[in-house]
Amino acid sequence: MNFKLLNALEHLLKGTIFVSLALMVIFVFLNVVLRYMFNSGLAWSGEVARYLFVWIIFLGSVIAVKEQSHLGVDILVSKLNLSVQKILYTVSTVLIVGVLALALDGLLGLIELNAGIGSPTSDIPVNTYYYAGAVSVVLMSIIFVIHTVRFVLFNKSAPPWANLPSDHKETEKAMEEES
């Protein structure tokens, strides 16, 4: 049930980053054309593009957590046996959620501090940046916890380096290919 909700969230996030990236390309390109061909420019377009960029990064990072595609070093951990891997994965999740909670605390503080302040040319609230971070760290933490519980208890949502029993790996792969 939880996982279906997560898949729905993933689709929503993908739709959002698709639109954001398309707009970012259009705004920056438009500004280049205006500057070189017509010697004018939209002062706000660079700023809006940066807002979109920040949202793409932080929402895209959530998708990468869901898909377990963030870069890591698996040279040692892939050689360990499954129960040790589960312990290390749990330790890692606890630490990650910890640092993300610190970041969230900082972000909420900054959001309070910058309330009502708009950016210089586009008048979009500066907090738009910090909200991207806040939404992202909350979603990433939730997904990390869900993955950890599923991995430790049910051998599901395992990280790519996990040494699952081989038959299990194949069924998981087959299921992925079907979907």
Binding site: V77, S92, L102
Partner: protein, 424 residues
Amino acid sequence: MIWQFLLVLFSLLLIGMPVAFAMMIAASVMLFLVGIFNTSTLAEYLITGANSFSLMAIPFFILTGEIMNAGGVSKRIVDFASSLVGHFRGGLGYVAIIAGVVFAGLSGSAVADTAALGAILIPMMVAQGYNKNSTTGLVASVGIIGTVIPPSIPMILYGVVGGVSITQLFMAGIVPGLIMAMGMMLVWYLLSRKTTAGRVEKATGRERLHYFLRAFWALLLPGIIIIGLRGGVFTPTEAGVIAAVYALLISFVYREIKVSQLYDVLVGTAKTTAIVMLIASAAIVTAYAITVARVPAELATVLGGMTENPTVMLLIIMAFLLLVGCVMDMTPAVLIFAPVLIPVVESLGIDPVYFGVLMVINLSIGLITPPVGTVLYVGCSISKISLLDITKGIWPMLAMYFAVLISFILFPQIVTVPMEWLSK
């Protein structure tokens, strides 16, 4: 302080934690040890790291590469190269090298270049009777030229965290990249001297013209990027967006991309961007933490105690980075070590642009050294061979790249003379 930093970072990496989060934790620990940790510093630098117009060049160049692939542009470039040199002994190998150089001028990622080249050329070469291991080794080694010849994503990252001009880095990469390609040709010549593998029939002048025209608009793009940057007409970010829109336009002109493909292309680009940029954001936090903890100064003292000779120092640093490259991917390696090492080399009077080129070449070589070599994995997964097989095929190219890197260190003029000429 540097040992605490490395100890925390590497312990976290070894237990399998993704790099971005390990860097955030290591940076927080450092700030805590210095006694100035507070959560808003962490949050502020995390967001500042992402909020950068210069780094926006990264998604644009990734997008350019993805569109070129989806739009069949890669195939046109390979066909053109094939009409030029396909008829020589070992001809398809030279095709791979020439096409690889053109790809390198279009995209900024070694992984993307290898995937694009490999998907077309590996099946073709194996079908013609070329040895699978050397073919895969060849394609993977050509792929890493993609990060040396501009545009280059690692150079953008180096420039931003190191406060070095990205345009200058791009200009400085051109000649070393071409020298690496020439080295590849020499190695391939030696390897394929006796090959009996099939060749392509020699193309007539008419056919060459035909394939040239088919690839014309794609071949023009690297020129536009380099000339525009050199003349200071546009910034790297603007060059990126121009390249992306240009790639999209010619793919529509060639009628080889469907609007429905655009969704996947854009979402894929955004995801890759997010993965690179989250590490970059974490690296900005780390860079701040190591600066306030005076790590570069400390490292400069330690290394400075060993030698004051810039060449010896470079050799030591490069040997260290090769080890790093063996176990770590390029993006985090650039982002972790550039801010630490740049102050050290600058204190010895070494040009940070020249050092950037060396560092990027060095860590690119790391992409094709086992046990951790992202580009090797890409090659293996296309050819369906093991890491051991590709290692057998790739060692001559690796040896050549080491020789090239060492000659760039011993004779810096090879890099710096064309660099000065091109950035004038």
